[in-house]
């Protein structure tokens, strides 16, 4: 049984043992073990040559990871909170995401950029975003958002071994941190040996016949919670954990809506131009005539994440809003 962050650290540690080109760099990832614990114990094991604490210079150290990857290393670099992407986005989307393509495939960038996402602990607009769509929108990087310790480990191993840049978004609430609300879903059975979970497959986490709910990360857990309540009222919701944002697993989604004929997409990112629109568009394009109800979506209503608890709870979707929305979809149909 491991927490999310220990599962990630275990994956990194095992890959560092197997492959001397793997190394980690970022802010507070050494002695501190990462603010969200994703690199706990690594510096003790591998020393400061392979686990490098950096200054607060994201452009420089993320760019350096790109440079090292181009030379054949397999760097893992941490952007502490995804919200800080603004100071180093050029390195991420103009460099990391485009160099392979613009070199005609002649330059490989086998690197991982891991970053913490998610709200729920009242840290306001610059520390609580998910920004899934911002990253998934840019071609040239794989983007994943695992929702449990098993996948966190398996997908981290896959990400490190992948020959492409992978943006690995982990959710603060799922890390099992001692200083946040303790969630049962943040602890999971995690095999000791290194194993892989593919970076392009969604997962049906609950089967149902009446409606498909597509969730991402925390929203998957809330969807399952809502589904349990709905089940008592005779509504069986199928819940999909999207897990991989780019590339996105269209097949699993289409297959599911062909069975349920209804769709709700739930996202902790902003509503407009986001993952909910993407999934909706896929279904509208490929399974329009299968649908028996309009496609629905719930996401942050296009406002920055507010600080005060009452305000944050109002904008971030929870089990309740999912439950209410499904009830309404079923009643209208």
């Amino acid at each position: 049984m491991l927490t999310g962050n220990k599962a990630m650290a275990e994956a990194i540690s095992q890959e560092m043992e197997n492959d001397l080109t793997v190394f980690v760099l970022g802010e507070d990832i050494g002695k501190y073990g990462g603010i969200f614990g994703s690199t706990q114990g690594l510096i003790e094991k591998f020393g400061p040559e392979r686990v490098l604490d950096t200054p607060i210079s994201e452009t420089a150290f993320i760019g350096a990871a790109i440079g090292a990857a181009a030379e054949g290393m397999r760097p893992i670099t941490e952007l502490m909170f995804v919200d800080f992407f603004g100071v180093c986005m050029d390195q991420i989307y103009n460099q990391m995401a485009k160099i392979q393509y613009m070199s005609g495939g002649n330059v490989k960038l086998p690197m991982v950029l891991m970053t913490a996402v998610g709200g729920g602990y009242r840290d306001a607009g610059q520390h609580s975003q998910t920004l899934y769509a911002t990253f998934a929108h840019m071609p040239g990087m794989k983007v994943v958002a695992p929702s449990n310790p098993y996948d966190l480990k398996g997908m981290m191993v896959s990400a490190i071994r992948d020959d492409n840049p992978v943006v690995f978004m982990f959710h603060k609430s799922l890390q099992g941190l001692g200083w946040m609300e303790q969630l049962d879903v943040a602890v999971d059975h995690v095999p000791e040996e290194a194993y892989t979970v593919p970076l392009n497959k969604a997962k049906v986490v609950r089967e149902g016949k009446d409606i498909t709910i597509v969730g991402i990360q925390m929203m998957t857990h809330y969807a399952v919670e809502a589904a349990k309540r709905l089940s008592k009222e005779g509504i069986e919701a199928e819940v999909i954990d999207l897990r991989s944002l780019a590339p996105i697993d269209k097949d699993t989604i289409i297959e599911s809506v062909k069975k349920t004929h209804r769709l709700l997409v739930v996202d902790e990112d902003y509503l407009s131009y986001g993952m909910t629109a993407e999934v909706s568009a896929i279904v509208a394009e490929e399974a329009f005539f299968e649908m028996e109800a309009p496609i629905s979506r719930i996401a942050i209503p296009d406002v920055p994440i507010p600080y005060s608890g009452v305000l944050e709870d109002f904008v971030i979707p929870g089990p309740n809003s999912i439950y209410e929305k499904v009830k309404k979809i079923m009643e209208d149909a």
Binding site: D28, D53, P55, G120, Q126, V310
Partner: protein, 319 residues
Amino acid sequence: MYEQMVKIRYYEDQMAEVYMEGKTPVFNIGAGTVPGEMHLATGQEPAAVGMCVHLTKEDTVTAPHRPHHHAIAKGVDLKKMTAEIFGKETGLGKGKGGHMHLFDPAVKFSCGGIVGAGIPHAVGAAMTSKMKGKDSVAVAFIGEGAANAGSFHESLNLAAVWNLPLIVVVEDNSYGISVSKKASTSVASNDLRASAYGIAGAYVKDNDPIAMYKASEQAVARARSGQGPTIIEIETYRYLGHFQGDPELYRDETEVPGLRQLDPITKLKMMLSEAENVSDADLEEMETRAKQQVDEAYQFARDSSYPQPEAALEDVFNS
């Protein structure tokens, strides 16, 4: 200055207590009266006070994620600031910003959670002053960790090229979160970097409020009279963790001799009574007045209401 320092210290001490309300037995950062991260500035008062006594309401201050000492020294509305930190609708940002995101345009104060982001904003304020032909100045407070961000270097170069009334005050408390200054910074102190931009630099040792007062006085005079930017670095001490709840496993107490040195507030008090002959009664009066204002601010925050949930949808745009 003494009264301001006492006010800041007392404010932060109260905050440390209130912060724990509702967070135990298992520490939950999102719960309680004051949720979210909390970065206190206990020990770092001299930097804020020594500079801000030279500033007026017309001068701009930008502060980082550890902003309370600057805010109080700049004269931010203490009641509204506290209400903001409590997430109340009477707060500076109606509960939308919280402790790292305080904005009080009435006294030209702002701060934010992205390291280094306030420096270019101060450049903009300094530009405005120059464009409007005023003699107001802009001061960006940052930590020594932030001096390694691109925004620091780009901003100082720009301010130097345009000869702007900008002052950057670097508070060197030895650490980014866990990364020591030695491990992150290529020079011994950031005032040395001034020569890279062809501007003035000053270094203040020992967390000394009087030396900070003097260095700031010169920098402000320089800026007001059109002689351009200054970097001041002050050696200071972060008595507490990076944030409340920080396990501080990275910190070896022997590395931080300053923590055992004489507290700057005690030192200033001794100086005032010995060298300046300020009477005990006068000192006590200052302390009482400071504490009373802080108590009133906390009471105001407690008595205020939380915003309506739907208020979350407002203020994205001006109407």
